[in-house]
Symmetry: C2
C-alpha cells in the first residue's frame, strides 16, 4: 500500500569517510522533519552497509542525482557494499562541514549530523541536522529548484523512473476564483 | 537548505472524525518508514489544528491529490482550521479501517493508526502503521503508479507545483553496459 505514495523522489545517501570506508546507497525514503533547525530523516534497512557506516560515523550526506546519473543510482540501489563504487561514474569530493564526502556530479549535497535514530518496523530512521549544503546553481537558480533545467529524478517502481514536466503551475494564479 | 530536496510530492492529511471535528492539511513532509509492517511518517507543526486532531484520535489518512485538485491543495495548505473545508470541492467519505474519513476525489487514501510520535525541531513526526488503503485503478493500474494517467502533484516552492512527464525511463534497459 506504501506504493500509493509513489512516484517518490530518489536520492543518494553517502556514508563513511574518504580514505577509510565509504558507501553510497539509493534511497527514496527521505523527508524533511523540521524547518528550524533544519532536520531531515532517512529510513535505512539494518541490513545495509550504509546503516553500519552512519551508526559508526554519525554523519550522512543526502545527494540529489539528476536523470543523467540514473545508471549510478541503479547501481547504488541494487548492489551491496562498497565495491560497487568502482562501477559508478561519480567523483567523491570533500564536504564542507562533515567528514563524509559529497558527490561532485550531484545537483546538491546536503550534509547532516545524526541527532537521533529510531527503529520502525524493518528500517531505522536516521534523523540528521543539516549543517551545510552545496548545490549546482543551474539546478537551483536563486536557491529554488528548476525542474526544467535539472532533470530531477523520481522512482515509479523497481527499475522505472520519471522526471518532471517543464511547466510550472502556479496555484495562486490558477483560473477560477 | 532543505529546499534542495524539492520538488517533493504533495499530499493531503485528513484528521478527525466525520460528524465531530475533521480537518485537511497539505503536507510535503511525508515518507515511508518501513516495508513490513508498512509504516509511514508525516511531520506536522504543533501549531496546526491537524496536530491536535491526530493526537486526539490517534489516526490519520494520507490522501494523494491530482493536479485537478490543486485549488483544494492550495486552500488546505494556506488556510487554517476546519472552516476551510467549506471552500474546498472535496467529498469526505468513510474509510475502510479507520474512523477518520477519506477523500473521494483523491487518487488514493492511505489509512494509518499512530504508533509513535517524536518531536524534531519545530515539527512532530507522527508515525502511522498503514492498516488499509483505497485507490483509483486508473492512477495505479496493476497497483503501480501511472504518472501519465494520474497527474501526480509535486511542490516546487510556495505556490509553484509540477507534475511528472509521461515518459518512463527504465534503468535496466538504459543504453550502455
Amino acid at each position: 500500500m506504501y506504493r500509493l505514495l509513489y512516484p517518490m523522489r530518489t536520492y543518494l545517501i553517502v556514508s563513511g569517510r574518504l580514505g577509510e570506508e565509504v558507501n553510497i546507497m539509493a534511497a527514496d525514503w527521505v523527508t524533511v522533519l523540521s524547518f528550524r533547525p533544519e532536520i531531515v530523516g532517512v529510513a535505512v534497512s539494518p541490513r545495509r552497509y550504509t546503516h553500519r557506516l552512519i551508526e559508526k560515523y554519525g554523519e550522512f550526506v543526502v545527494a540529489v542525482p539528476s536523470v543523467g546519473m540514473l545508471k549510478d543510482v541503479w547501481i547504488a540501489g541494487t548492489e551491496s557494499g562498497p565495491q560497487k563504487l568502482g562501477k559508478m561514474r561519480i567523483t567523491l569530493v570533500k564536504s564542507t562541514r562533515v567528514l563524509t564526502p559529497s558527490i561532485k556530479e550531484a545537483l546538491a549535497n546536503i550534509e547532516c549530523k545524526v541527532v537521533d535514530k529510531r527503529t520502525y518496523g524493518d528500517h531505522t530512521l536516521f534523523v540528521g541536522e543539516v549543517v551545510s549544503a552545496t548545490h549546482d546553481p543551474r539546478a537551483y537558480p536563486n536557491g529554488e529548484p528548476a525542474p526544467s533545467a535539472a532533470g530531477f529524478l523520481a522512482h515509479v517502481s523497481w527499475s522505472r523512473f520519471v522526471t518532471f514536466r517543464d511547466e510550472i503551475i502556479d496555484a495562486e494564479h490558477e483560473g477560477g476564483e
